[in-house]
């Protein structure tokens, strides 16, 4: 995004800006404060939507202590249960890791695309693309696990990659903005999924509702002992490492980042911008496809119509993790914890699981608006450098 630069050229070299501690601190501080703020606002929402606590506040004049203590009890028990449900015991931890698995992969998908200057809102569609291929492989073929599982995973990657590359191709060839095309492709994928689930290829025999066949045992991600967490988490962490290596240690990543930061300069330097867009969207799509596949082969084992809901989370994760694979992993573990703890929170404190979605939205909002966080906590801006806006206009 073009901001106004002062017309005068600075004639002197500006003093070096070493990667000082303050920057590193801020890189951690803003997300942490964002999380904290989101939890606070989430708590306020809980308080005013709980009928009894809200009633206590309505008569706060008569008994202020009661209202405050009831509010405290509610929020602390809710967040306590949330924490308990996410980290309280090995089973909880297993659930957190399980929930994090597809989130890591989908977050990496959006982050990788961001690095190449592409805003991938299409993770949801690519997840469907990946599941359509991997599930077919997983319930049709009959092979030993060591062969079947890898083939199913690769199929999932390729399915997602195909779906993602459509948007990349459209952008490269016609300049169609990927935000628009990926949104549209999400809904096209959703309808395709519904269609396929009613065809004999996918539909479970004897069912009239759109539900797929179950994947073969040999294509399932094995779990660790009695816990539900499975090899998917290992796959996700390995993938994160591969994405990091790709981005920061290889020529492909160099090209991605150059095209992402300045496509015109990259083109002048002889890089193929169109090719980069297609490849980046294909890889991003593949990662999303893997996310859907990990969920399919590790948790649900069959497909039903509808979005899985990872697409928007993935954007949040990429932003929260500052489009860095390690950041994405940490952010995904956090979101996984929220998801895993939500059920216990509902059971213990009677707070609906959807409050998690609200908290997640608030986290992205605060992370995306560091100026807002600084304003709330009165942190002085380090310099004029703000987060780079990610998209350019619809045009061009």
């Amino acid at each position: 995004m073009k901001t106004e630069t002062p017309p005068a050229e600075p004639q002197e070299i500006e003093p070096p800006r070493p990667r000082s501690r303050s920057i590193a601190v801020e890189a951690l501080l803003i997300p942490l404060l964002a999380l904290f703020s989101a939890l606070v606002v989430g708590g306020i929402v809980m308080i005013f939507t709980d009928p009894e606590v809200a009633r206590a506040w309505a008569s706060v004049g008569r008994n202020p202590g009661n209202a405050i203590s009831m509010s405290w009890d509610l929020v602390s028990s809710a967040y306590g249960a949330l924490f308990e449900g996410a980290f309280g015991n090995p089973t909880a931890l297993s659930e957190t890791l399980l929930a994090s698995t597809p989130l890591i992969l989908a977050g990496l998908s959006v982050a990788l695309a961001f690095r190449a200057g592409l805003f991938n809102i299409g993770a949801e569609g690519q997840i469907i693309g990946g599941m359509l291929t991997s599930s077919w492989v997983a319930f049709t073929l009959d092979l030993p696990l060591v062969i079947h599982l890898p083939i199913a995973l690769i199929a999932g990657f390729l399915g997602g990659a195909f779906w993602g590359s459509i948007a990349g191709f459209l952008k490269a060839r016609t300049g169609a903005h990927e935000v628009i095309t990926t949104i549209m492709l999400n809904f096209i994928a959703l309808n395709l999924l519904t269609f396929f689930l009613k065809t004999p290829i996918y539909q479970r025999p004897g069912r009239t509702d759109p539900l797929s066949k179950e994947v073969a045992e040999s294509a399932r991600l094995p779990s660790f002992g009695d816990y539900r967490v499975n090899w998917g988490i290992v796959l996700a962490l390995l993938t994160a490492f591969v994405v990091w290596y790709l981005l920061f240690r290889t020529t492909i990543g160099f090209r991605f980042r150059a095209v992402g930061a300045n496509p015109k300069a990259a083109a002048y330097a002889g890089m193929s911008v169109a090719g980069t867009y297609i490849l980046a969207m294909a890889l991003a799509g593949g990662l999303s496809g893997l996310a859907g596949t990990a969920n399919l082969l590790g948790v649900v084992y069959s497909m039903s119509p509808g979005f899985l809901g990872y697409g928007f989370d993935a954007i949040a994760l990429a932003l929260l993790g500052r489009t860095h694979p390690l950041g994405v992993v940490l952010a995904a573990l956090l979101f996984g914890a929220l998801r895993a703890g939500a059920l216990q929170m509902q059971g213990t404190a009677g707070v609906g699981t959807d409050i998690i979605v609200v908290i997640q939205a608030l986290i992205i909002m605060f992370v995306a608006a560091p100026a807002l966080v600084r304003e709330i906590y009165r942190i002085r801006a380090r310099s004029a450098i703000e987060t780079d806006a990610i998209t350019k206009s619809w045009a061009s």
């Binding site: 016609t174 169609a176 628009i180 909002m365 998209t391």
Partner: protein
């Protein structure tokens, strides 16, 4: 220098495009003849009902010989294709494309209704109704984007407003109060988008995404916490049908256009009003200037950020109206995620309609038609997967942004920050 260079390259691109279009017309014609003409057994009639439920005048249904009618329509397509290939329609080509596609769809309907009857008026009526939230949503997006702020939060604004309309309308026992609060809720989310994207310089797509997630989370959470426990808070009632005297008695179009509830009339008023305001008024000139070249607007003393704030909030309010339609105009209660992606179809309609109110309305009608056709076909038990019809709006939008069918040109500064020293 461009006047000198102005001899616009009557480039091979446009010639090739003209040829492709001609071939497309031909292909539509032959496909229609093959599938729908010869696909209809000869001697059958397709019957089209022309009465709606409320009309007083009883029109006899229109019975057409299926095969002959479909073949005639197919012939028109082929004829148009032949002209396009030999003489070319020039600038009218896109319009003719519309005609050809129209003929193809009519031929399809004739085939689908062979030896059966199809209520034409009913289908058109449902087309109009289904297009209401899409049109209003598209207007919302258009108000924002014409001033240079991308709004992909239409969905979230509609959903929140739908919820507000239901709960407030029920609590107050008045659909009007519900409507007003719904519109205000939309405006509030518009204000949030504006503050995030203008004051805090959040990427506009990210800001919109935040609002979408927030809306989905909040409404689902609140509906589980509150509506599920207090059912009476989820029965706001609906706005009644207002029949406009005399006009509503006109056969066919009367019941279609003049016997509707408040929302349909408001939609017409807004489409026409925003069109006039945008292209004929001082306000509109300034809004468009801000969306195309904010710095130029700034240098002539227009408050760029003020215009953007105002427009995004207005856009939010129109999206709020669209949301209220779900609970107060159509269903009469709130269900989780009841907008079901229509905010994104509205976004598609805005783009398909090229950021123009009339165009957006036209696009919404096309999308509404696809939706209603899908329903009709289910009733006629036509063996065609309805999913492909439901995909049509999205595919059409991709074709438009990819420049396959004319190119949509968004406001030049759409999505760009404007920062002043």
């Amino acid at each position: 220098m461009s006047t000198i260079a102005a001899a616009p390259a009557t480039s091979r691109v446009s010639i090739r495009r003209a040829r492709v279009l001609g071939i497309v017309f031909m292909a539509l014609g032959f496909a229609a003849a093959w599938w729908f003409g010869f696909g209809s057994e000869s001697g059958l009639d397709s019957t089209f009902g022309l009465n709606s439920r409320s009309s007083e005048v009883d029109l006899p249904p229109l019975a057409l010989p299926s095969r002959e009618t479909a073949l005639l329509l197919a012939a028109i397509c082929v004829f148009l294709g032949a002209i396009q290939l030999t003489r070319g329609f020039g600038k009218q080509a896109n319009l003719i494309l519309g005609v050809a596609v129209g003929c193809f769809i009519l031929a399809f309907l004739v085939w689908a209704a062979r030896d059966d009857s199809l209520n034409m008026v009913g289908m058109l009526q449902s087309t109009l109704l289904r297009s209401v939230p899409i049109t209003l949503g598209a207007l919302s997006g258009l108000l924002c984007e014409r001033s240079g702020v991308i709004n992909i939060a239409i969905e979230g604004m509609m959903l929140t407003a739908a919820f507000m309309g239901a709960i407030v309308g029920s609590a107050a026992g008045s659909t009007w109060v519900g409507l007003i609060l719904a519109v205000l809720a939309g405006g509030l989310l518009g204000a949030l988008l504006a503050v995030l994207s203008i004051r805090y310089r959040v990427d506009q797509i990210v800001g919109g995404t935040v609002i979408n997630i927030l809306a989905l989370g909040l409404t689902s959470y609140l509906s589980a916490q509150i509506l599920a426990r207090y059912q009476n808070l989820n029965s706001p009632g609906r706005f009644p049908v207002i029949e406009i005297p005399l006009l509503s008695d006109i056969p066919i179009i009367g019941p279609m256009l003049f016997a509707n509830n408040l929302f349909i009339y408001l939609m017409f008023i807004l489409v026409i009003g925003i069109n006039i305001a945008l292209f004929r008024s001082r306000w509109g000139l300034r809004v468009r200037a801000v969306g195309e070249h904010p710095k130029a607007a700034d240098t002539v003393g227009i408050k760029v950020l003020g215009v953007r704030y105002r427009n995004v909030i207005l856009g939010g309010m129109v999206a709020g109206l669209a949301g209220a339609y779900f609970t107060l105009g159509s269903v009469g209660r709130f269900d989780e995620n009841m907008t079901g992606g229509r905010g994104f179809i509205a976004l598609a309609a805005m783009i398909f309609g090229r950021w123009n109110p009339i165009g957006a309305f036209g696009a919404a009608l096309v999308f509404g038609f696809a939706d209603s056709l899908q329903n009709t076909l289910a009733i006629l038990q036509v063996p065609i997967a309805s999913e492909f019809l439901l995909m049509a709006p999205y595919i059409a939008t991709i074709l438009v942004v990819a420049g396959v069918v004319g190119r949509a040109r968004p406001p030049a500064a759409d999505g760009q920050l404007y920062i002043k020293e």
